[in-house]
């Protein structure tokens, strides 16, 4: 229904630039997540989209309509807040009906829609209760129903799950995602929890200091981080300094890492020629040292092991003194590794290279 586009959005408070130029398109009906650490400007961007914050520069478009100057109450949005923001003196039914009444929808239709949405979020029969008589998860369901029942052009959610406990959070991910898919509502979801972002989104935008560092599908952002920052913020990553040794060939470049030869793809060019190799722990191989390390391999000593059932984590101290994490799944060939074992860590062919300096 509505494609959202953000064009060159900047926002300053006094001399502090909180948003430093955001350009992005969110296709109609997608679940778009803004992921980033606290203070990077996620809420500000969300409030710019809602209209509660006027951007210093740039424009917001819903479809073909420029809504930059439109006040929030005329933007036809839905919002879900971290603290639920349910009207405490109104019943669950009245909360959900609130937006419909503002739109002067006929009474009978209001009753029908509200009950339909209460059912959708699994709260049929809760209409008469006051919000105080609900649990946190139930309150957030009411908030979700309240935001969606009006058929918003864009649904905006600011860390809606962070007040819930861990188990409930996982459960609510499903509730939100499946409702979003059913209603095909263009959704902007703000979170600082990478697991949440990966699990729910069509597209993730990783934000850093008022900019979008990288944007893409969850598996793309996870597998192909373009910066060291993204590789660390989304999932966990081992980062080691890499010196380029040869011009690239078919996108594969050769590097020297801690004295060994490495090859892999450069994700984005470093202006100063300094790179880091990025390897996810689960992409690393580990075996007892029998011979000298070969191509894409480094030798080291196991300094700790953690058996976690379906996987085992190792912490390995390399010759240079840096440490890497390795995860293996299932059973190891041969005898298990223990502390103090000399090992070879194999980076295989999955290494990627990112610029060392953030740019």
């Amino acid at each position: 229904m509505t494609e959202l586009s953000l064009r060159h959005i900047k926002k300053s408070y006094g001399h502090v630039e909180v948003l430093k130029g955001i350009d992005h398109q969110v296709p109609d009906g997608t679940f778009f997540t803004l992921l980033g650490p606290s203070g990077c400007g996620k809420t500000t961007l969300l409030r710019v989209i809602a209209g509660f914050v006027t951007p210093s520069v740039g424009s917001v478009h819903f479809g073909s309509e420029d809504v930059t100057g439109v006040p929030p109450h005329r933007r036809e949005i839905g919002m879900v807040f971290q603290d639920y923001a349910l009207f405490p003196d109104k019943s669950v039914f009245d909360n959900v009906a609130y937006g419909l009444r503002a739109r002067r929808v006929p009474k009978e239709e209001i009753r029908r829609s509200v009950n339909e949405y209460l059912e959708r979020v699994g709260l049929e029969g809760f209409g008469e209760r006051l919000p105080t008589a609900l649990s946190g998860g139930q309150r957030q369901r009411v908030a979700l129903a309240r935001a969606l029942v009006v058929g918003p052009r864009v649904l905006l959610m600011d860390e809606p799950l962070s007040n819930l406990d861990a188990a409930l959070r996982v459960q609510m991910r499903d509730v939100i995602r499946s409702l979003q898919l059913e209603t095909k509502t263009t959704t902007i979801f703000v979170t600082h929890d990478q697991e949440e972002a990966l699990a729910m989104s069509d597209t993730i935008a990783v934000m850093k200091d008022g900019r979008i560092d990288q944007c893409g599908a969850p598996d793309d952002v996870y597998r192909n981080p373009k910066t060291a920052y993204v590789s660390k913020f989304v999932g966990s990553a081992n980062l080691l300094q890499a010196k380029p040794v040869e011009r690239c060939n078919d996108g594969i470049c050769r590097f020297e890492v801690e004295g060994s030869n490495f090859a892999g793809r450069i994700m984005s060019e470093a202006n100063d020629g300094r790179y880091l190799v990025v390897a996810r722990p689960e992409n690393l191989g580990i075996r007892k040292a029998a011979a000298a390390p070969g191509e894409c391999e480094l030798s080291g000593v196991v300094i700790s092991t953690q058996f976690q059932g379906y996987r085992t984590s190792y912490r390995v101290k390399l010759k240079s003194g840096s440490e890497v994490n390795v995860e293996t799944f299932g059973e190891m060939d041969g005898s298990p590794l223990t502390r103090g074992d000399e090992v070879i860590v194999s980076f295989q062919d999955k290494c990627i290279f990112v610029p060392e300096a953030s740019q």
Partner: protein, 546 residues
């Protein structure tokens, strides 16, 4: 730009209102104290103040009275709080009605009733006379301190009670475990911890005593006091020497401002937060101690409520001039009101309703602006709202009358000024009451409403106002109570035909017509009581929560 509307504009309007009706008159009166009749700068007013003995004497008397009453209130208030907090006495529930009694019985009526008991024609005076025992003259220091203590001790009682309740009992136990006797423990450990609260309330009592008009003028004929002198200078010198009125007003503003400043400084300096500890258990007293504690507490309660009964009895009593024929009942006092003075009741109702409506609307709006829509104007608004606290009703009345008797906006003599004066006095408290729930209302609540398509203005009415309602109701009731009882400002500015119940009572007391005054007093108390009763009983308003 659209962000400035509508809240910025409303802030600006509120600011303009306060500047015009509070800052302008007060600054005016301060300035006029430095200007002589020819309009030149002069210190003549202060010169006269310092050199004519009666002014300095009045200042000294006011300060002495303030200190004495504060001292007596502290003794009574702390003692009563101590008994109520620690001991299981028979009628401790009634004690919690005491703050209400102060609301319901206006200080003027309290003064009147005690005159009816101890005054020249008083019940007790006559009784003792019959036995040949001369009663000490009630008018003067004795009467002033006695009635004012009974009027103001509740402030200290409440402060001390709150402090004693919050006091961590384990400290006291620790003291006792070290081998100190319970009473010594109390003096050494408990009392020091309630001193900040008591002292802070004491300073407030001091400012109330210094600014008091109703009791001061009814009982203080022989003791010149600053507030009475200020009033008389205005009444007798209308068209006379305005410099002296301004100078007297300025002196009392400075005195009260100084004390309030001291109080704020003291609060900010002390760590006023007490550890919320276990509420200490209330113990049962035995033997003579029980009788003594119960007796003293009972006496205070009886003395606090007695005025209402005396006035009620007096209103049905036959009288001829100042002489009351106790025991002979009549309805004359009421039928007279029905026949001749319904206008007075009407005035009171009219002015108080308007003042309450205006005051509560203003307080609601301003508290919302100050808590939720802070802007560059907010801190100025904060400060302007403190101003009414620094001036007594008399000074407010004079500054309004002087400020609006000429120029582009002439209000002196209009009913509007009466309403304004009544409303302004209560405004700081009204704002405090109205904002009591506001801090707990999350901003996202309003944003949720706006995001659902309801404009900000309508969101305020739909979402915020219902949640503010308990605070607004408390503000409305308390504003009503104080405006219906308002005397000191309105008596300065009223014109013939604008008499309110308190003004009428005041005039009748002056003429020593106590029975007739009593009938007006009873009507006054009923008008106060009805909304308080409805508020507390029907609407469950918490009047003393903040």
């Amino acid at each position: 730009m659209n962000r400035f509307l509508p809240w910025g504009l409303l802030s600006l309007l509120a600011l303009a209102f306060l500047l015009l009706f509070i800052a302008y008159p007060i600054i005016g009166i301060l300035l006029r104290s430095f200007i002589d009749e020819s309009g030149e700068f002069s210190l003549e007013g202060f010169f006269i103040f310092l050199n004519q003995g009666r002014y300095l004497e009045a200042l000294a008397n006011s300060i002495i009275l303030g200190l004495s009453v504060t001292f007596c209130c502290t003794v009574v208030g702390v003692f009563l709080a101590f008994i109520v907090a620690r001991f299981d006495i028979p009628f401790s529930n009634i004690v919690f009605l005491l703050p209400l009694s102060v609301l319901i019985i206006p200080e003027l009526i309290s003064a009147q009733s005690w005159i009816m008991v101890f005054g020249n024609n008083g019940l007790v005076t006559h009784l003792l006379d019959a036995f040949g025992i001369p009663f000490p003259r009630f008018y003067g220091w004795f009467g002033l301190i006695y009635v004012m203590t009974l009027t103001y001790y509740v402030h200290i009682f409440l402060a001390a009670l709150a402090a004693l309740r919050g006091f961590d009992h384990s400290l006291e136990e620790a003291g006792q475990s070290l081998g100190t006797a319970p009473l010594t423990t109390y003096v050494k450990v408990v009392f020091p911890t309630i001193i900040p609260a008591v002292l802070s309330a004491g300073l407030i009592v001091f400012t109330l005593v210094v600014g008091n008009f109703a009791i001061a003028i009814s009982l203080g004929q022989r003791v010149p006091l600053l507030s009475v002198l200020t009033y008389r200078s205005f009444i007798s010198e209308l068209g006379g020497n305005p410099t002296m009125q301004s100078t007297l007003a300025t002196v009392s503003i400075l005195l009260v401002a100084l004390v309030l400043f001291l109080q704020r400084w003291y609060i900010s300096k002390r760590d006023y937060q007490m550890v919320a500890g276990r509420t200490p258990p209330r113990s049962k007293l035995k033997g003579w101690k029980s009788w003594a504690a119960t007796g003293v507490a009972g006496l205070v309660i009886v003395l606090s409520l007695l005025p209402a009964l005396v006035v009620l009895a007096g209103s049905f009593t036959v009288s001829r001039g100042p002489v009351m024929y106790w025991g002979q009942f009549t309805l004359d006092n009421y039928t007279r009101i029905l026949d001749f003075n319904l206008g007075v009741v009407g005035n009171s109702l009219k002015f108080a309703s308007l003042a309450t409506l205006l005051g509560v609307t203003f307080a609601t709006l301003v508290s919302y602006l100050l808590v939720k829509k802070r802007s560059a104007l907010s801190s100025t608004l904060d400060y302007l709202l403190l101003l009414p606290l620094t001036i007594s009703g008399t000074v407010l009345g004079i500054s309004l009358a002087q400020g609006f008797n000429s120029g582009p906006m002439v209000l002196t003599g209009t009913a509007a000024l009466m309403v304004l004066a009544m409303m302004l006095r209560r405004l700081p408290f009204g704002v405090r009451n109205a904002s009591s729930n506001l801090h707990n209302i999350s901003n996202s609540l309003e944003e949720a409403s706006v995001s659902l398509g309801v404009p900000p203005g309508r969101t305020f009415f739909n979402v915020v106002l219902p949640l503010m309602a308990p605070g607004i109701a408390a503000a409305a009731i308390l504003t009503w109570v104080t405006t219906v009882a308002e005397l000191s400002a309105s008596v300065v500015i009223y014109q013939a035909g604008q008499e309110t119940l308190p003004i009428q009572i005041f005039r009748l007391i002056n003429s020593d017509l106590m029975a007739r005054a009593s009938a007006f007093g009873v009507i006054n108390m009923v008008i106060i009581l009805v909304p308080v009763f409805i508020g507390i009983r029907v609407m469950k308003v918490k009047l003393f929560s903040s």
